[in-house]
Every structure is written in structure tokens, then in C-alpha cells.
Symmetry: C2
Subunit: 95 residues, 2 copies
């Protein structure tokens, strides 16, 4: 995230959920009003876990501003593949 | 779904995504204006895949009315566990 941006992005992959929780927390602490959590395929469940953990243990009145789902298409060795994507926009409660 | 209800619920589990696609389609065809897709834990990614498949191949202008995420707590042999949940409400385009 650049210093002027008010929004941070956390891309959820295959690491343990707590890693992404810490990433979100440090973005909020460095002044981001919104944090967007992005995930593809199997990582989508982990992204939802991250929001659950944040809500339960770290930011009590965290708001979920928006959730969107979609599909991304790409060519892999001449074959077209599809993967589901999800974006969750979190809002810091006091902003 | 009862005959008088205008909303159907499809609970996504561990079967192949196409099974749930067919379930959604038959609910829409039997007159449901809305179909709610429910999933927990690992099945959340599959629920997003189901929506992607429906949009891509079956109901071209399907609308996603609402997506909500949450956490469900339960006691398993004296230990409390948490699992993430997701509800996706789909709207038939012509309704």
C-alpha cells in the first residue's frame, strides 16, 4: 500500500489464516480505512476464515462493506481454465 | 421447498459442483424467485464455483442479491470449534 492510499489489499493464498490476519491488522494500524481481502479458488474459504478470526479476536466491531464473487479465465498450455474469485472489503469501525 | 414458498435453499456439501447447479436450476424452474446457497468450511469455495457455473452456462443474467459470511460455533466432545459459513442469495433475472 502506498502512503497516500486509504485502501490496502491483502491477497490470501495457502499460508495459515493468522498470517493474513496480521497483514490486515498492520494495514489498519498504518492508517488504511478499508482493507480488501482477495482470494481465488481453494483460498476463498481461508479468506472467510480470516474475516471470522478478525471479527472474533482482534477488531470486535469490524464491518464488511462489500463482498463480490466472480470468475477468472486464463489459458494454461492451450487449454482455457476457470477459477472462482472473491473480494471482501472490510471497514475499520471508527472510520 | 414447499409449494407455497418463493425461496429455495441449496446446501452445498462435498459433492461435485454440477449436482448443486442442477438443484438450483430445478428450484428456479419450479417457480422459486430466489435461491439461497448455503455452505460451511471447505464447501464455501464450491458454493462460489456453483454460482460461476450457473452464470456461465445456465442462467446468463443471474443476479446475486446478497452475500453474507459468518461463523458458527459448536461443541465437539467438550471442545468448542468454529467454522465459517457463507450464504449467497440468487435472484432469477426475470423476477
Amino acid at each position: 500500500m502506498s502512503a497516500t492510499s486509504r485502501e490496502g489489499v491483502v491477497i490470501v493464498g495457502s499460508k495459515p489464516p493468522l498470517n493474513y490476519v496480521t497483514a490486515c491488522l498492520s494495514l489498519f494500524n498504518s492508517g488504511a480505512a478499508e482493507v480488501k481481502i482477495r482470494a481465488r479458488g481453494q483460498a476463498i474459504c481461508r479468506a472467510v476464515d480470516v474475516v471470522g478470526l478478525l471479527r472474533k479476536g482482534f477488531v470486535k466491531d469490524l464491518k464488511v462493506r462489500d463482498i463480490s464473487i466472480g470468475t477468472q479465465e486464463f489459458n494454461l498450455a492451450g487449454r482455457s481454465s476457470r477459477v472462482s474469485t472473491m473480494d471482501i472489503v472490510l471497514l475499520k469501525p471508527d472510520k
